[in-house]
């Protein structure tokens, strides 16, 4: 076959192009009859090797006219010329190469080992794959969004650096019966993740594992067994609103809606709230919010912008005994506490809205006191609402409280005594 077979540039457009025989491309390493040029063959072709191992390679020259010589040939690896002492002429047409203690491949497509003629032209090439077999993947975790799907994430063994392309395959099967299935949607929540979108059974355990394979071997993770109902998560609670509590400078009210997706699945929900000051990266977490959909943050700084987020854990789905998976945090919602000249206290816990029991010690004691008052005194109208109103009144009228933080009475400017109400009950 003549070299330089004409393409469409030189073909006459009047004659349809003939059927093309195979191997029209002159493959590097294949001799071309009558070409007057030399080619070569490298052996081994595209070997796979362990890091630290050695390689013996040869470059055998063919040519037309015959009598091609190994004289003047040299090697490059990834474009860098290799030292002459690494090569030796085996015979008139063959140049050998010895490499020791190989490093991991520079690129996943393979290191380019090239045999050059004296004038630098490329005679042949071979790609080296130097790396490590995969280690066992571990730390598989899975969750189901609203019981409709399953997403799993894992950690590759040895931090994933094998210097070779390593394929990870997530497998799953029903524990008691059924065949192995392979997950197909990868990289959904990171490089080592997979998503199973449908056809999942409930009330029966699945076995899930990850297989890692590359040119040097394979490894399999431990098997994770789970029931979909035990790993359910939801979308974050929607419609999170944060607002001031009247004029109270140290409180904000947070309200949200329970996730609608699971409303038919007989689940309970517990919530967590976290909040932070605008300029801070430190979140404070309120844990004991149980299944209510509102909460009051107390003990905040006056005149300060707070970012608030809420998340949900749908536990007890269909009677499952296990807690679910916490949802993502809702989008941050911001609100500011009213300004005050009196510096406010530091952070505090979430407090219930008016009338609801609280876990804070002060308010707990207050509740007990109010309950006692109702029984033993004529104070039937006493309530937390009244207490909050009193606090608001206190903040407006006592602007110099900080200067007179003593119990008991202090004289007024006109000489009359006036009770100074203490900060705390």
């Amino acid at each position: 076959m003549p070299a330089g077979r004409p393409g469409p540039a030189a073909q006459s457009a009047r004659r349809p192009p003939p059927l093309l025989p195979l191997l029209l491309l002159c493959v590097l390493g294949a001799p071309r009859a009558g070409s007057g040029a030399h080619t070569a063959v490298i052996s081994p072709q595209d070997p796979t090797l362990l890091i630290g191992s050695s390689l013996q390679a040869t470059c055998s020259v063919h040519g037309d006219p015959p009598g091609a010589t190994a004289e003047g040939l040299y090697w490059t690896l990834n474009g860098r010329r290799l030292a002459p002492e690494l090569s030796r002429v085996l015979n008139a047409s063959t140049l050998a190469l010895a490499l020791a203690n190989l490093n991991g491949s520079r690129q996943q497509s393979g290191d380019n080992l090239v045999c050059h003629a004296r004038d630098g032209s490329i005679l042949a090439g071979s790609c080296l794959y130097v790396g490590l077999p995969p280690e066992k993947p571990f730390n598989i975790s899975c969750w189901s969004k609203n019981m409709k799907d399953l997403t799993c994430r894992w950690t590759p063994g040895a931090h994933g650096e094998t210097f070779l392309h390593t394929n990870y395959s997530l497998k799953y099967k029903l524990r008691w019966y059924g065949q192995d299935n392979t997950c197909e949607e990868y990289h959904t929540v990171g490089p080592h993740s997979c998503h199973i979108p449908k056809d999942l059974a409930l009330f029966t355990p699945y076995e899930i594992w990850v297989e890692a394979t590359n040119r040097l071997g394979s490894a399999r993770s431990d098997v994770l067994t789970l029931d979909i109902l035990d790993v359910v998560t939801t979308d974050p609670p929607p419609d999170v609103h944060v607002s001031r509590v009247g004029g109270l400078e140290d409180q904000l009210s947070v309200r949200w809606v329970s996730p609608p997706a699971l409303k038919d699945f007989l689940f309970q929900a517990k919530y967590q709230i976290r909040y932070r000051v605008e300029d801070s990266v430190d979140w404070k977490v309120v844990d004991d919010v149980s299944n209510q959909t509102s909460c009051r943050l107390a003990g905040l700084k006056p005149g300060t912008v707070y970012f608030v987020q809420v998340r949900c854990n749908p536990f007890g789905i269909y009677g499952s005994k296990k807690a679910g998976i916490w949802s993502e945090w809702s989008h941050p919602t911001a609100a500011s506490t009213p300004r005050s000249e009196r510096p406010g206290p530091g952070g505090g816990a979430c407090e219930p809205r008016g009338g609801e029991p609280s876990s804070g010690p002060v308010r707990r004691e207050l509740k007990q006191f109010l309950g006692w008052l109702k029984k033993h005194a004529y104070c039937s109208n006493l309530s937390f609402r009244l207490y909050d109103q009193w606090r608001a009144w206190m903040q407006k009228t006592h602007k110099t409280r900080n200067q007179h933080r003593t119990r008991g009475s202090c004289p007024r400017a006109d000489g009359a005594r006036r009770e100074v109400l203490p900060d705390k009950l």
Binding site: A3, P17, C26, L28, A30, N112, G125
Partner: protein, 207 residues
């Protein structure tokens, strides 16, 4: 069609589409070719990056061997009449599409974690077909015959080209890398050539 190279004479042939429509079609196809020339350059750069040195090094010069059924624009291409040039452009673009597919399949095995490269190769195959079809539409609007090969031999030629390329790369990974470089280079050359040929037909463009 005027015999003067690079000009149009709508009065010469009553079968030619109305001039404004033809001009619009030529401008549109020329713009497409110009855009694809940029994409082809980006594809080439992305490609050499992922093959590793020496592919991206200045002075890297593997043998410019012919690819099955396709070669670079001939030196005499610019001297041909405009319809002939456009016919060759369309034929080359048509031949490039299956070859780019072969390269993409190889790279999917060699560089599976190079999604941008794979996407560019996939796009290039589609864009080559689209530009080829657009050039043929311009030829038809000029009243010139496309005189392409009959459907069956053309399909067989494409299949043979793919088989040749696949067989060539069975000889090793390095030849597969070189083939891909050659195909990406040819794609850039032919898209650029098409842009130049259409540019000469754009009214107000260079003669």
């Amino acid at each position: 069609m005027s015999r003067r190279e690079g000009s149009l004479d709508p009065q010469a042939d009553s079968s030619i589409s109305p001039l404004p429509h033809l001009e619009a079609k030529i401008r549109q196809t020329h713009s497409l070719a110009r855009l694809l020339t940029k994409y082809a350059e980006q594809l080439l750069q992305e490609y050499v990056q992922h093959q590793g040195d020496p592919f991206g090094l200045p002075g890297f010069s593997p043998p410019r061997l012919p690819v099955a059924g396709l070669s670079a624009p001939a030196p005499g291409h610019a001297g041909l009449p405009a319809p002939e040039r456009l016919r060759l452009d369309a034929a080359a673009l048509s031949a490039l599409q299956p070859l780019l597919d072969v390269v993409r399949r190889h790279q999917a095995e060699l560089n599976p974690r190079a999604p941008r490269l794979l996407r560019r190769l996939e796009d290039a195959a589609r864009q080559a077909r689209a530009l080829g079809a657009a050039v043929e539409a311009v030829l038809a609007a000029l009243g010139a015959e496309t005189r392409g090969p009959p459907a069956e031999p053309a399909a067989a030629a494409a299949a043979a080209a793919v088989a040749a390329a696949t067989a060539a790369t069975d000889a090793g990974v390095f030849p597969a890398k070189v083939l891909g470089l050659r195909v990406c280079g040819l794609y850039r050359e032919w898209v650029s050539r098409t842009e130049g040929d259409l540019g000469q037909l754009v009214p107000g463009g260079p003669a």
